[in-house]
């Protein structure tokens, strides 16, 4: 049963931020609520004030600029991202993950910022956006700051959001030449949460050598994890099976997965090895193919 709360519905971002400042410590923010309402019903989240930003249309937008890159407003729904021609052209990996992120009904109502701010380490969007070198913009009545999404996750369902801050925007650098990102999750039902997910970005040079790489793991620890030792293995090298095995081994060692009803820790490490090899190869080959 959901505990009673006082419901507040700001009409503008400005009004929302002043509500956050007024009710520090005592509020939760709801947008699509596709994750929040479940935990509220389970009694895991109890709040005095519920601040509903779903109606803030000023935060529902997708823009792209060759210099600034991609900007997605907080209240933009998953389905809007999935069906955006612009995102399909510039960041096809985002369309691919959105189609498998949850059921259509959830994608219709759930939002980008809600997904990211919920802080579930088994999400698909956060690791993929980190692999894309994404940033997150946080605003409060005091001002705004933009931080790498990688730094946003601080612990189990914990984020760098201050008590009076709201996620207002996600930013992704411009799509670059000879660079591609791939993401794959393993699960039993396709649109379900990842048992393990791996996102990989490879930036190649003209000789197909890896110039830069990112490997980001989903559900392999309390936050999305960047497997930096795996990345290091790749940089400056040419694609080969032996190299992929070495990078995958490093990524699996860097992860900190748990054993639960879905998979043992050992099996999760195995999945990290398999998916890291596949995703790095896919990103690398795509980077070269697309040029």
């Amino acid at each position: 049963m959901i505990h009673d709360f006082t419901y507040l519905k700001p009409g503008t971002l400005r009004e929302a931020l002043s509500m956050l400042a007024d009710h520090k410590d005592e509020y939760k923010i709801i947008c699509g609520g596709q994750s929040l309402l479940i935990v509220m019903r389970q009694g895991l989240v109890v709040t005095d004030y519920l601040i509903d930003i779903k109606g803030l249309n000023e935060l529902s937008y997708i823009t792209y600029d060759e210099r600034e890159g991609l900007r997605i407003g907080a209240t933009t729904t998953h389905r809007t991202v999935e069906t955006s021609e612009l995102i399909k052209q510039k960041y096809p990996v985002l369309v691919a993950i959105e189609k498998r992120l949850a059921s259509i009904q959830v994608r219709n109502w759930g939002t980008i910022a809600g997904n990211l701010a919920h802080g579930d380490s088994s999400g698909d969007l956060a690791p993929t956006l980190i692999a894309l070198d994404g940033k997150i913009k946080l605003s409060s009545a005091r001002g705004s700051r933009t931080i790498p999404l990688e730094e946003f996750y601080t612990g189990l369902f914990e984020t760098a959001l201050n008590k009076d801050e709201l996620v207002v925007e996600v930013q992704v650098p411009p799509a670059r030449l000879l660079t591609a990102t791939a993401y794959k999750k393993f699960n039993l039902i396709e649109s379900d949460q990842a048992v393990i997910g791996v996102a990989a970005t490879v930036a190649a040079d003209r000789n197909s050598t890896c110039r830069d790489a990112r490997i980001v793991l989903s559900n392999a620890g309390v936050t999305p994890i960047r497997a930096k030792s795996g990345e290091k293995v790749l940089i400056g090298k040419k694609l080969s099976d032996a190299l992929l095995t070495e990078a995958a081994e490093a990524a699996a060692n860097e992860a900190d997965p748990v054993s639960d009803i879905h998979a043992s820790e050992e099996y999760r490490r195995h999945l990290i090895r398999v998916l890291t090899k596949r995703m790095v190869r896919q990103a690398w080959e795509e980077a070269i193919r697309l040029g």
Binding site: I2, D52, I104, Q105, N108
Partner: protein, 161 residues
Amino acid sequence: MEKHLLKLKVNGQEYELYINPKTLLVEAIRDHLGLTGTKRGCETVSCGACTVMVDDMAVKSCAVLAMQVEGRHVKTVEGLEENGKLTPIQKAFLDHGAYQCGFCTSGMIMMAQTLLNENPHPTEGEIREGIEGNICRCTGYNSIVRAIDATAKGNYKEDKS
């Protein structure tokens, strides 16, 4: 606890409700409006039995606060038929026996209708992907897919008589 005035439009009709803001859309529809075609199933956003349309989008009404649909148009399974005439998808479900216990049916039909609105000629794969968020615990998926496919192929016309 302070009750809020909620003005909402369901199946074309305007309603004014005084509700606790924690009221879920499915509760407003069933308990306040008495439209019990929409089912409460898992209540964890998994089963899809509570699927309704909000502004022509399929959503799970167990995961939406009623307050959030203020000013929007909600359509439930009761809103499909007009003057007692079933819609093509409803006729197809009947003909194909696309239910066993019937509990998932209203959610399935609402999802199928939005799927066909967005993609009038889906492949079988697209139909199966479309109803991925709706669980039929009797596992009668094949007849459901056949019913949606038959509707998409135009085997069932709208009854305008």
